[in-house]
Symmetry: C2
């Protein structure tokens, strides 16, 4: 058994734009000895590293290059070889990011671990599209939910009825492929089919694209426009603000 | 009427730790001609400014030094006097931040406006306390809600019954003074009084403090420990992760 000498930093890379990493995150990336990054982190950020070993643990949607267990094991293993280990994750490490599972594995192995939060897409991507997910006139609550579950295709196991009755903005991540189920379940649960909806793809990148529709036409709009993951769906009256604010990046 | 020459940047200062501002936010702060900042933004950040005029629009809780209308008017007015105007706001400008109201006022006056997102406290403050607000084992949904409403003391007008039935993590901002109403309403709505609860005050600052309790004892715990705003209340099983992860700052 090797000695554990390293410290692991779980770093949020932010939503796409490489300048949306935090100053703290950038500083630790600059002094990293090894970086384990995934596909949702902008690889432009790796240019800040000095001679660090770079390991691609890329995953996007269903294409997992490494399993979560493998990543956990890798991080523990690296902590006995390197001093400063950065685990660079898209968005924020703890928002649908499984960063907490990585942190738990590291703690269990006795490894020192710190988290540096990142700009999280369910807030920032709508924001850059001129949509405030909370607003005094529209919504004093917002719910973030993933359109994917642990097992594939089980999105419809959510209690969409209770979600439909909930009075606030709904932001759905990774929901593009389940949009038909999501909209029909919300409407069946009581949400007005005319509720404004925005679909934002490639958030905070130069290719960011925002499409406005309503709940009843959500699936059709995604198909007609050929919208592809990664994308975020925003449901609620706050979407109306985009007609005033427009793009704000 | 003066010509409008300036560009306004609504910048999220992050949750307290000055190194949690984004690289993009720091860069615009460095070139600012004038900065309008509020009390929730760490004033350490102002050290990065070069000869900028600094205007304190501070507000925290109920102590508004300037009204929102006055701030909107000020920003429009500054845009005819300066080139680069930074509006520095605590956390993220669009999360319970009224940044969208400021952006709308600027748009209405024909002023160029951009938003630079910030690290948002309802995600990052629990995270730094070892609490992931989403987690595969505990919650695939999270709701952020403010414990204050537009009018004082109207917190109990929320539909807490529907919120209580909602199956995900609940993060309440600015809820410390309304904690008695919040916990009793949630329990009346069906939430188990034994649901784990964390109260995190002074998030991401050296004085950050995390107190663990349960829903039934929320108000008593706040009183007994003398916990004061700003604070965040996290309700749900994900709070249990803190016993594994501990502080992660």
């Amino acid at each position: 058994v090797n000695d554990i000498t390293g410290t692991v930093y779980l770093v949020g890379a932010g939503t796409g734009d490489p300048d949306l990493i935090t100053v703290k995150g950038l500083n630790v990336l600059r002094k990293a000895d090894v970086v384990v990054y995934d596909a949702l982190a902008n690889i432009e950020l790796l240019k800040n590293c000095k001679d660090a070993r770079l390991i691609d643990a890329g995953k996007r949607g269903n294409l997992h290059k490494m399993s979560q267990d493998d990543i956990n094991t890798l991080l523990v293993s690296l902590s006995s070889e390197y001093g400063t280990i950065v685990r660079l994750k898209g968005g924020d490490p703890f928002m649908f990011g499984r960063g907490a599972e990585e942190a738990a594995a590291l703690r269990a192995a006795g490894v020192e671990v710190h988290v540096i939060p990142g700009i999280s897409s369910p807030i920032a991507v709508p924001e850059l599209a001129g949509i405030p997910v909370t607003h005094r006139d529209h919504a004093s609550q917002v719910t973030f939910i993933t359109g994917h579950q642990r097992d594939e295709g089980e999105c419809c196991k959510w209690d969409w009825g209770s979600i439909a009755r909930y009075d606030g903005t709904l932001v759905i991540l990774m929901g593009l492929s389940n949009s038909e189920c999501i909209s029909s379940s919300l409407i069946a649960g009581g949400r007005d089919e005319n509720t404004p909806v925005a679909i934002v793809t490639d958030g905070s990148l130069p290719t960011q694209r925002t499409t406005i529709t309503d709940l009843g036409r959500l699936h059709g709009t995604i198909c007609d426009n050929g919208l592809k993951a990664p994308g975020i769906i925003v449901i609620g009256d706050c979407v109306k603000e985009r007609s005033i604010l427009g793009d704000l990046a």
